[in-house]
Symmetry: C2
């Protein structure tokens, strides 16, 4: 079984974006360093591409490389237009959605539209191979946690109070114990934390 | 001016207690060590008193000793019965409340009932002397932050997802940037973080 990691950048008050899905200053650390960070680490990334600090690069790069499959909600798919068929990490994406793939949308891309979280994780396990499964935070991530399908919670905590917005664990209302963090890395405008889920 | 610190123990999703004001597993670290932690560090604290790890003690003890005055909401006062007139830290308490001191309640205790947050912080500044002012998280703390009256945010993060409950920043909806944390200390069932508020 592939390891399932629930991940997002998050404010100190637990939000991954404002009410309009804008992450605002949460993403400052993606652009304040000198290490280009792209799906393939292109030598000459696009202008405006991610450039993180060395500290964050050394943490994020291996995690991205280890990803086999992403699991995301329909909203993130729609906002990003599915990254135009090229996911930022991994080769496969499972979209939790009652609606299917848009007509004619990148037919070659390994994107799979599945209508519940349990089935989505099962599909992701088939696709991920030796890689990890990265579940996007939000409603899908919170449901996966509540269903006992998450092994680790990875929070990139930005030193920002958002006050309101989209929550890391979505509308989850169940209590869940985690282990003490096994990763605590101090970046520039981000604190990288990882917690294993207590069974 | 005394330094103003907004503080609480908090879940990874930003809650300081469940909807019934029960902190539940957030407070495990207060009882899982061998260092007694009391207002006066009594050699023989009451049974069931706080006993924290050495790591947490070395962080918390100086902070408690440095506190001159606490600022709390009426709800915390009511839940704790004002700690029966003996605050856990500092010698003075300002309670933000439209209601005054209960008749006959510990007339000797330096508790001051003030009906808005700005006035409460002004009173706390008069009382705190050389000490710091510890503002309890929740609605009072969130309002103080929004009013620009907070210098530092101190979060003792427990590795727990609460899912719902009372929020660290109360009903604050304003965005606020913090500095990168200048304190990151890994305790046992707690991660001690401190952020200065960015001006």
């Amino acid at each position: 079984m592939s390891r399932v990691v629930l991940h997002a950048v998050v404010s100190v008050d637990g939000f991954v974006a404002d009410p309009h899905d804008d992450p605002g200053p949460l993403f400052d650390w993606y652009f304040n360093g000198d290490q280009p960070l792209t799906a393939q680490d292109m030598a000459d990334p696009a202008p405006g591409g991610l450039r993180v600090s060395r500290t964050s690069y050394d943490y994020v790069r291996p995690e991205w490389d280890a990803t086999g499959c992403m699991v995301i909600g329909r909203r993130l798919f729609d906002i990003t237009d599915g990254w135009e068929g090229r996911p930022p990490t991994g080769d496969h994406v499972v979209v939790v959605s009652h609606r299917s793939r848009p007509d004619g949308w990148h037919p070659e891309a390994s994107y799979h539209f599945v209508d519940d979280v349990t089935a989505a994780l099962r599909t992701a396990q088939e696709l991920a191979g030796d890689g990890t499964i990265a579940v996007a935070a939000g409603d899908v991530g919170g449901q996966a946690l509540a269903l006992g399908l998450v092994d680790e919670v990875a929070m990139d905590v930005a030193p920002v109070v958002l006050g309101t917005g989209k929550r890391f664990f979505g509308s989850l209302e169940a209590q869940q114990l985690l282990e003490d963090p096994h990763v605590v890395i101090r970046g520039d405008r981000v604190l990288h934390l990882r917690f294993r889920v207590r069974r």
